[in-house]
Symmetry: C2
């Protein structure tokens, strides 16, 4: 028994599934995404969906990964931040995207941790990219803005940790008036800021 290369109708089907899902998300958000609706739009049977994606979460991770990619690219295209405040400002779009919806946040969290491992999940690759971008920013910043006693890679990972913390808080604090930036900045100042005299 030998294996053959995938037929081209496979990719056609796959693409129409993705397209259908994209449409539904665009129209009604991730919360309204049903596998049965996706396959109905794509004019395939339900089983076909699961022949292409392990589960619904994987498909969502794919869509979210694409979007995050675009957001990240846009951030990367802008001039790099020169201060911690600018850095906090720069990553706001990403936080807004991830924090737009509990479901998005959950999916991101589930797959983000895999960043350290080799994987096919686009969303994980994105998290790696993110860390690299932050690390690049940090080493390019004026030395008086950033502490020099910690590895930039570790600092970059820390930014992620705080980002997630702030977003998680946002979901529970609906009646909360403090903005995302205002929550994030104190962490980043303390985490990234240069050595200061003891109080």
């Amino acid at each position: 028994m030998q294996t053959r290369s995938p037929q081209k109708r496979r990719t056609v089907t796959r693409n129409s599934l993705i397209a259908a899902a994209c449409d539904i998300v665009a129209e009604n958000g991730f919360g309204a995404l049903r596998v049965e609706d996706i396959v109905a739009r794509a004019k395939v049977a339900k089983g076909t969906f699961f022949a292409h994606f392990e589960d619904k979460d994987r498909l969502m991770a794919l869509l979210i990964g694409q979007e995050m990619d675009a957001v990240l690219q846009k951030i990367d295209d802008a001039p790099p931040p020169q201060t911690i405040a600018e850095l906090a400002q720069a990553i706001i779009p990403l936080m807004d995207y991830i924090g737009q919806d509990r479901i998005v946040f959950d999916v991101v969290l589930r797959f983000s941790g895999a960043a350290a491992i080799e994987t096919t999940e686009k969303i994980s690759v994105n998290f790696l990219k993110q860390v690299h971008l932050y690390a690049r920013w940090l080493v390019a910043m004026p030395p008086d803005q950033i502490r020099g006693d910690v590895d930039p890679g570790l600092l970059a990972e820390g930014i992620q940790a705080f980002m997630i913390q702030v977003i998680a808080l946002r979901f529970c604090a609906l009646h909360n008036s403090v903005s995302t930036t205002d929550r994030l900045l104190p962490y980043l100042v303390a985490w990234l800021g240069p050595v200061r005299s003891q109080q």
Copy 2:
């Protein structure tokens, strides 16, 4: 239409539901917890379950909250850590509990963010307790061990952020040899450590 005080059979039913759920978790873990099994054990109808708990997650949050409470209490009873390394060591049991199971971690994350808000969820209250405990530790530590330029409350919240980051990583990095402490410590040293000379 006026309201009456709850009847006592209500609490009886509620307790038997909780007890049944506890048994199942003890026997087969959270992954094997089914509402239908719980109600079968508790000898009530399915609908009754949802008259007592908003959804399955809430019940799990309750059980997990109880367990976390016990773990936290034990940590609190021990002598407070005198160094960052000791601190990292001290919170290992909590991380082990949260990180024992993907489901536990998910539930914890979902309800932990509410720590800053007034709420009935025991699990959230626990997260508040946690922050307070850490803050207490930090102010009691020898000044040469801890940076003095940042509010202990903020530092305590940061510990949580890093804890979650490390646990999230653990789930994706099954073939990873680095231990939990080894992952956490670098973050904590950089986050909590006293001001050092620039590199």
